[in-house]
Amino acid sequence: MCYGEDPEYTGAVIVALAGNPNTGKSTIFNALTGLNQHTGNWPGKTVLKAQGTYIFHGKKYVMVDLPGTYSLQAGSAEEQVARDFLCGKRLQATVVVTDATCLERNLNLVLQVMEVTSRVIVCVNLIDEAQRKKIFIDLDGLSAELGVPVVATAARSGTGLEELKVKIEEISFGRIITNPRRLVYDPDIEEAVALIEQNLPGSVKEHYNPRWFALRIVEGNQSFLKEIEKLKWGAPCEPYRISYSGPDSKNHISGSRIHNLTRGQA
C-alpha cells in the first residue's frame, strides 16, 4: 500500500489530484503541468495515474493525476489506485477537483479524502459553466464548513489556476494549517475506533492517519484488510474488528457520512 521512494520525487513537492469522474481533473492537470495528457469525456479514461511536473516560485512540484472516483472504498481498480496513493506517505497536498454544476454529489469524496489527510484543497472547477447555469457557489461558506481552502477555477480558460498554485504552495509548506471538518459517527463506532487507534503500532501512525486506518478496520473493508495482512504486524487487527459486533458497520459509516452531507435538504 505504501509507495516506494521514486527517485523522480526526490526533493520535489508531491501533489495529488483527485475527484469524481468527469470533473475536469485532467484539464487542470494539463493546465498546471503544460503536459498534454489525453482528456476526454468518457468514464475510466485515467485508470492509471499520470504524473507531470511544474515549477512555482523556484520549487518543483510533481503532480499526480488520479483516476476519477466517487469513493475511496476501493470497490474498483480505479478506487484502489486513488486510495493507495492518497494514503501513502510523502504526499504534501491533495487537490480534490469538484464540479461546480453539481457540487453536492462531489462532497462525499471530499469528506472521504479529508478523513485520510488534512492537507486538502477543494477546487471548485467548471465555475464558468455554473455561472452560465445561474448557480452561485458560496466559496467562503464552503471553506468555513469544510475547514479547508476552496478555490474556484475554470480550467479551460485558466481562471483561478494561479490561486490554486498559491494554495498548493501554502498547504505544502505548512503556511496554512487546515481544520478539516471531522465526521463523528455513532457512539459504538467511535468507541471501537478509539480502541483500535490506541492499539495501532507506532509504525502505522507514522505513515497513516490513525483515525482513518481504524475506521477502515471497523468497516471490515475487504481489500483494505488484505493489504494490512501484507504488513508484518497485520495480525493484531483481527480481534478489534471482531470486537465490534454492531449491525453492518460498513453501511453505517457510509450511510451516516452521506446523511450528514444532505442534512437539512428537502
Binding site: S71, G75, C102, N108, D248, N251, S254, I258, T262
Partner: protein, 80 residues
C-alpha cells in the same frame, strides 16, 4: 396514503422519492455513494434499447442503473 414501489417500476417521466434501500454490502454502498439516500428525488428518463440499464435523473445528474440495482431501491411515487 403514499404508494411505494420499486425504482425499477417507476414509469418514464415520473418522479419518486427514495424511501429505503434493500441492497446489502457493496451494492448498497455504491448506491449510497451515488447519492441515493432517503428523501432523494429521482426521475426515470428512459430505457436503453434493450430495456436495461435505465437512465435516471437525481441530484443534478443523469445516471444509468441496472435493473438489478434499481429493483433494490424503494421509492414513494410523487403525485402528478
Amino acid at each position: 396514503m403514499v404508494k411505494e414501489i420499486l425504482l425499477s417500476e417507476l414509469p418514464v417521466g415520473r418522479c419518486g422519492r427514495v424511501v429505503s434501500l434493500r441492497a446489502k454490502g457493496m451494492t448498497r454502498r455504491r448506491l449510497l455513494e451515488l447519492g441515493l439516500v432517503p428523501e432523494t428525488k429521482i426521475k426515470t428518463i428512459r430505457y436503453s434499447p434493450l430495456g436495461d440499464p435505465t437512465l435516471f435523473q437525481f441530484r443534478g445528474t443523469l445516471i444509468a442503473l441496472r435493473w438489478e440495482e434499481a429493483r433494490q431501491v424503494l421509492v414513494s411515487l410523487e403525485s402528478l
